[in-house]
């Protein structure tokens, strides 16, 4: 059981991770070493196409984003339940189909409620 504990097919992800990390570090380090450093106030401003920035970078978002994000999260969970169902569908058969249809029907009630309430409309 000891050797099984480490899934070996995750090695490419590890290698990829280190390559990505090295790329970022090397790029920033090279730029830091090579570039001339003559900072002054205008240069240190946030870049906004040459216009002086007059507000904070973190502006307030419209409130409507929250409802969209919330609906996304809840239907994301629905997807999480759908995936193992799809994988073991052959074993579950008709019974599995019925229970998943029930699950989806309950969630579609919420979907139509959101639709009727206008939570999906932007304007």
């Amino acid at each position: 059981m000891s050797a099984v504990n480490l899934p070996s097919n995750y090695l490419p992800i590890l290698v990829f991770f280190f390559i990505a990390l090295a790329f970022g570090v090397v790029t920033i380090l090279m730029g830091y070493l090579v570039r001339p450093k003559r900072p002054y106030l205008e240069k240190l401003h946030a870049y906004e196409s040459g216009i002086l920035p007059d507000t904070d970078a973190r502006m307030q978002f419209p409130f409507r984003y929250y409802l969209i994000a919330m609906l996304f999260v809840l239907f994301d969970i629905e997807m999480v339940f759908l995936y193992p169902w799809a994988v073991s569908f052959n074993k579950l058969g008709l019974f599995g189909l019925i229970e998943m249809v029930l699950f989806l029907l309950i969630l579609f009630v919420g979907y139509f409620y959101a639709w009727r309430k206008g939570a999906l409309e932007w304007d």
Partner: protein, 100 residues
């Protein structure tokens, strides 16, 4: 081979960090973050026990916990938005309308 107790130490520490976070912070959102931390600590425990006992029940439960956490985040944030509209603050101590 990692002993089971290592996972228990990690999950216990995370749970206590979440608990302390709820107790010491004033900000609403941090309190919700702490609740998420505690749920995740429970998840680590469930998955670890499930792995070491050779049954899958704990992992199924952890999926349910993730679903409940999503529902909790949606509702909790809606409540925060309502309170923020009324009071324009995120400090929990100022939400004392119901206090005598």
């Amino acid at each position: 081979m990692i002993p089971l107790s290592y996972y228990i130490v990690v999950s216990t520490t995370m749970f206590v960090v979440g608990l302390v976070g709820i107790l010491i912070r004033k900000n609403f959102l941090i309190i919700l973050f702490s609740i998420e931390l505690m749920l995740n600590a429970a998840n680590i425990n469930l998955v670890a026990f499930s792995h070491y006992s050779g049954k899958v029940d704990g992992q199924v439960m952890s999926i349910f916990i993730i679903a409940v956490a999503a529902a909790e985040a949606a509702i909790g944030l809606a409540i925060i938005i309502i309170l923020f509209r009324g009071k324009a603050t995120t400090n929990v101590d100022e939400m004392d309308l119901m206090k005598w």
